[in-house]
Symmetry: C2
Subunit: 357 residues, 2 copies
């Protein structure tokens, strides 16, 4: 892809299907390796997917990887959906830049780089190494009462995500990991997942950072009001949905996912926020979905609803509910292992091991 | 521990409870880190366990790690419980020594060393680097018709495992990972798990490497006959159980697990074979269990039965059914991440992040 022309539309236009022949070769190669057929379970299906993504078997090991943490704020916090003050979004961006957050620790551990992108933080941020200033708007409007953003703003955030993905791959990344930070963002995620799956707000809305029963009831009511408002607006295309119920970091994530798919690299998707972005991305550009790997099953009910809707199984289930890209970052090791198994294991013939009778 | 005196009895005598104070300090520290309380799920509980194991918070990162693959053969293959020829055990030992098996690939990927121990292979093996010759007996007897081994042989295999664990830790290992290889060994594992849990043979016996319905029915019958024979022998202590229904590599694994616990290092336990050893180890030396981490939920039904019996939750569920230590080796990355989170994440105070209101 050429660099300077990267937009969401350009990456959608560049999407290709997976390479079926490479995937088939990987599946056949698995049956020659020194193990019972199918015994490596999920590592085998991931290896086949990686071959289809890369267009070659065995697939290259997806490294280095880059976690991109898109940060944005949410007007809906005015309704009391979270006990955390909005300023924590900006404080956590500083924590990411300083290397002290969970995602920094996990990315160092798994060998991934971390890039933070301000796409919608409410306050002006000081420049910092590893922080990209791409602010589209200083926080969304309150989706309980009005569209979170305009469609132009949603499109601008999609473009940010798409171009960040292209730049990361141009810079050498061979796997992309979705990360995010935004106080209040499980509320728009629940609204988007409810709208995409058709499930009731109460089914897909969770406790986020750990809210109490009263706050959860309030949050469900907020999501219901937002959904009713959106239905009344009489629009139902995916861009309108994203603008009306989404978040700036969620829109950027959707662009990032499709951008990674256009570059033919695996995109490891994290928890409920990333899955809400993926649900929208799969409507905007269905051909991006086969490039995605669900890294982790968040404890948020919306995450499981989105996974079932998209018919994808997460790699890990570690009861995380942090976001930032934490679960996807841990899944990277398993995804890389899947490629190495195909590339490095001995065959029955080469190792002189008898196949079963 | 002194080296030359390591036996199973000596490691049992050396077992200590976890350090509750260090575990409590780790739990308290988690609540000061820049994340919602409890949001790191399983990483938090693993971190607390690691602190209790090491006796200090934050716990040291459990590295380097050593996977020990204990290999043994099984007389029960004469009854047709598996389509794989017995010679594959020895062939796979050569494959391990050459670095071409799945466990070699996964251990290189996660930074673990691999040591192979012949504790019960039926044929004489050529010396090879990374292969330790500790053969107690050239394969077990057919447990369907007679005790698999004598109690003296079971004790000798327990001693092998205990001393290998002590040597690995003396050599620098700070985490131990259980591995095994033995054609036919899901049959003794099912018998041991049935005996330890009280569940019927049909509930805990699985398809192992992928046997068909007819072979599965035959295998269940073999396990039932073995259990009936053992009951008729009128003994029910754990050593008699292990000798009557076990395998040499399973006995060595039980010794290895207790040996690692005595050295106060985490022991990451793999699939159904390792869990059958752990079920026996937990009867022989209950104080070893808190040092163990179940790495992976094998698709074998006996694995889930043993996990429930022992009340431990596996870290991963990747639908593996290979053994060798493959699932536990992949879990190592998560276990190490749990320690790094405690040691490296910023606190709310240090990062200037507001805690929730």
């Amino acid at each position: 892809m050429t660099f300077d022309a990267v937009s969401f539309d350009s990456v959608v236009a560049a999407l290709q299907p997976l390479d079926d022949q490479a995937a088939r070769q990987a599946a056949e190669h698995h049956d020659r390796l020194t193990k019972p057929r199918g015994a490596l379970g999920r590592l085998e299906s991931l290896g086949v997917q990686l071959a289809g993504i890369a267009g070659v078997s065995p697939p290259p090991v997806p490294e280095p990887a880059t976690v991109v943490v898109f940060a944005g704020d949410h007007g809906v916090v005015a309704d009391g959906v979270t006990p955390w003050p909005q300023e924590v979004t900006a404080q956590m961006v500083a924590n990411f830049a300083a290397g002290g957050a969970a995602i920094n620790v996990l990315a160092r551990h798994t060998g991934a780089d971390v890039l933070v992108v301000d796409v919608g933080v409410a306050s002006a941020l000081d420049p910092a190494p590893g922080l990209l200033a791409r602010n589209v708007r200083r926080g969304t409007a309150n989706l309980a009462v009005e569209p979170a953003m305009t469609q132009d703003e949603a499109r601008a955030a999609l473009d940010v995500g798409a171009s960040v993905a292209a730049d990361a791959v141009a810079g050498g990344a061979r796997a992309l990991i979705t990360g995010e930070m935004g106080i209040g963002n499980t509320t728009p995620a629940a609204a988007l997942i409810a709208a995409c799956t058709g499930l009731p707000a109460a089914t897909v809305t969770g406790r986020g950072t750990g809210i109490d029963d009263a706050t959860l009831a309030l949050k469900v009511g907020v999501v219901e009001r937002a959904l009713a408002r959106f239905r009344n607006e009489g629009e139902d295309d995916a861009l309108a949905l994203l603008a009306s119920l989404g978040g700036l970091e969620i829109a950027a994530l959707a662009g990032f996912i499709v951008g990674g798919a256009a570059e033919r690299v695996p995109v490891i998707v994290d928890g409920v926020i990333a899955l809400s972005a993926l649900a929208v991305a799969a409507r905007l550009a269905p051909a991006a979905l086969p490039y995605c790997i669900a890294g982790h099953r968040s404890t948020e009910p919306g995450a499981t609803a989105a996974l079932e809707h998209l018919r994808i199984e997460p790699v890990l289930d570690l009861e995380l509910r942090l976001g930032e890209g934490s679960g996807a970052c841990l899944a990277l090791t398993v995804v890389q292992a899947a490629a190495k198994v195909l590339g490095e294991m001995a065959t029955f013939d080469a190792a002189g091991v008898s196949d079963k009778g």
